[in-house]
Symmetry: C2
Subunit: 456 residues, 2 copies
Amino acid sequence: MNPYEYVEAHQHEFLEELKEWLRMPSISTLSQHKPDLLRAAEWARQQLESIGLTRVELFPTAGNPVVYGEWLEAGKNAPTVLIYGHYDVQPADDPSKQWKSKPFEPEIRDGNLYARGATDDKGQTLTQIKAVQSLLAAGQLPVNVKFVIEGEEESGSDHLYPFVEQHLDLLKADVLVVSDTGMMGLDRPSIVVSLRGIVSMEFEVRGPSHDLHSGLYGGMVHNPAQALVEIMAAMHRPDGKVAVPGFYDKVRELSGVERAEIAQNPITVERFKEETGAPQPWGEPNYSMQERAGTRPTFEINGIVGGWTGEGGKTVIPEKAVAKVSCRLVAEQDPVEIFELIQRYLAEITPSTVTSSVRLLHKGMWSLVDTQSLYMQAAVRAFEYGFGKRPIFMREGGSIPIMGFMQEKLNAPVVLMGFGLPDDNLHGPNEKYCLECFARGMKTAIYFLHSLGTRG
Amino acid sequence: MNPYEYVEAHQHEFLEELKEWLRMPSISTLSQHKPDLLRAAEWARQQLESIGLTRVELFPTAGNPVVYGEWLEAGKNAPTVLIYGHYDVQPADDPSKQWKSKPFEPEIRDGNLYARGATDDKGQTLTQIKAVQSLLAAGQLPVNVKFVIEGEEESGSDHLYPFVEQHLDLLKADVLVVSDTGMMGLDRPSIVVSLRGIVSMEFEVRGPSHDLHSGLYGGMVHNPAQALVEIMAAMHRPDGKVAVPGFYDKVRELSGVERAEIAQNPITVERFKEETGAPQPWGEPNYSMQERAGTRPTFEINGIVGGWTGEGGKTVIPEKAVAKVSCRLVAEQDPVEIFELIQRYLAEITPSTVTSSVRLLHKGMWSLVDTQSLYMQAAVRAFEYGFGKRPIFMREGGSIPIMGFMQEKLNAPVVLMGFGLPDDNLHGPNEKYCLECFARGMKTAIYFLHSLGTRG
């Protein structure tokens, strides 16, 4: 039985295993789910053991454990592939309201498996695990394989950073494979070649030392909520560009070739409306929609709050107002430098009638994939085999901050082997993983690993 | 025992009664407090009964009940005084954080009684009730007295408007007395002679149909929180004037005499800083601080909320963002007309990349007091007796919307007999009522009622 036949023969079994994993609500941002995270980690450990890896270990950290597994029987001359995944998931708030089936009771409808974590990232991680299992079962794995599966991707990978630094030898590899991104469509295979960096922060504007009666003081005190909206509005120019001086200074402009490449796969206004429900596209002038999201930096208000937010009204001048903001960054922007530019601009535009501050919440580097590496070329052929069409290169707007870090620390090229679809609703209600993506993903991953061993 | 001696003898008892009333969290803007409102109304009813009024009734309304009481034994030739107060209070959010003692566990510190509702308005209402009780106990009440104590002042008096219209005969009076305002200081007695009107509303800006991943869509969708801050910032001109076209059209400019009168009692920058804790005054150019608060209209953000407001960050583009706003209005501005101007301006400035709406929450008319009425002259003498100094006339920035309405419907002059102090923190944390104000207030109210009967 060759590995592809093995996949065919075990499809039902693989799916049942994935459902078992998805039933564990391993939400890393909510502390009450700690036991579920431990269960999900232990499940991954047993999984790696059961497929025949020679060393499998659960590394405790100050946060959630890192699951590690390796099979190095291909020998010293064969390349080593490090596969990254994560067993933690996003929260699934409002389960009753918007989810058609319960987020932690996986359900198959119309060829899709619905559950929180289905695509992000349990389904995609298991796709890789099952590809390795199939190759091992067929006795055809020609490369060394290492897995590192973390439990804090959705909460900032805080403890994976020191773990990587402390285990550089253990994790040493020739290429880093990540299945935690998406493609344009089942019939439009694509490989993500860039991810944006991020710097997130919290702004605070303060005025009076306590909430004031808006009748008695309204008109003579600068309302901090008003000052905040004035300051936040000043963060963009009227045309949609970020107004912070120096914000774009380090941004590398796209070449004509790159723009032409991107323009080959336009997002239509219809598709935009369908996916987002927004009345119209918006953004920086002189860039197309996919350029704006994939290649340009942003300044987004993720949350804003101040004063009375309960039912009805309350006639106060609030003492303070807060905005939570994240900037997506692109090559060659440095998160700390951008934070400092914003901090300086904030100080400049804050009027003397209020005080303001901004603090850094977290940050992560952008990353670019070398499309010319041997491994990317192998990935292109693997996608062509798995999905029947040559994949195109896609710039995605999201961030996997740990990626840039691992790439640099391990000094290895990265391949973002993503099998998600645009309507997978990751982070939202009704998250799903397409069963066809699961099957073709395994085929693609098998072909990729197999071809690496036979390239010499 | 004359009524003043009666007050002296019962001071401790009166204070204990007030504390009992203050322990009821009768917050009219929060529906879960309905039972507390009913308890507070019933307490007021029993109070009026116990002091010897001849008719006391709890009138149910579609909202909170109106407490009514009367004593008409002074006869047809004596004037009738209608005393207004309210038993509902503002919310007291964040009790743990800023309140030194719990808002609904009254505590006396340094000659002040701290509790939500202490000055606004249970303390002031009870000051009037106790003045009447003392006159009745001494057998010296020379005028007819009616009380109307409502439970929706802090939420717009919605059901008092129809109640007044339906009970014009019941409420018929020669003068309307309201103890729900403040004075400049214990040693600077003053009487409020104008109140601002109000229109409060809720703005909503919507973009996508659901929260979006700020990585995948950031840069191509107009973030509703950003659109809201842009729209809200556009509500003021950079110099602090409200930017809504037509907003000031009906505002009567102050005469030189009026401005000179107001300028006699300036608020110093030091006192401003002491009272508010704000770094600097702010406001419309070419008006003094007290003119801004007392005679000019405002547009204040009372609350703003959108997206992720919990701990840390969450990288979403929120589907919507909301701002709660109230405008204080002055003579001759009409609340509905102002609301319509704002609605029109909002439609004009909303970009096509989002949708917006604004709905009216509640509204109330401004009111001006006739300083020459017999009753105001009596009030001046009463304050002089109670506080040892001739009071000055003060324009206040607050609103008691129902006042203008009752004044007009009952065709009676109004006297705003306010005993609050500038540092009473009404609507904010650590609301208090000064015990000296309570005592002197009763003295003032007794003198006022007594003098009305002996004026012929």
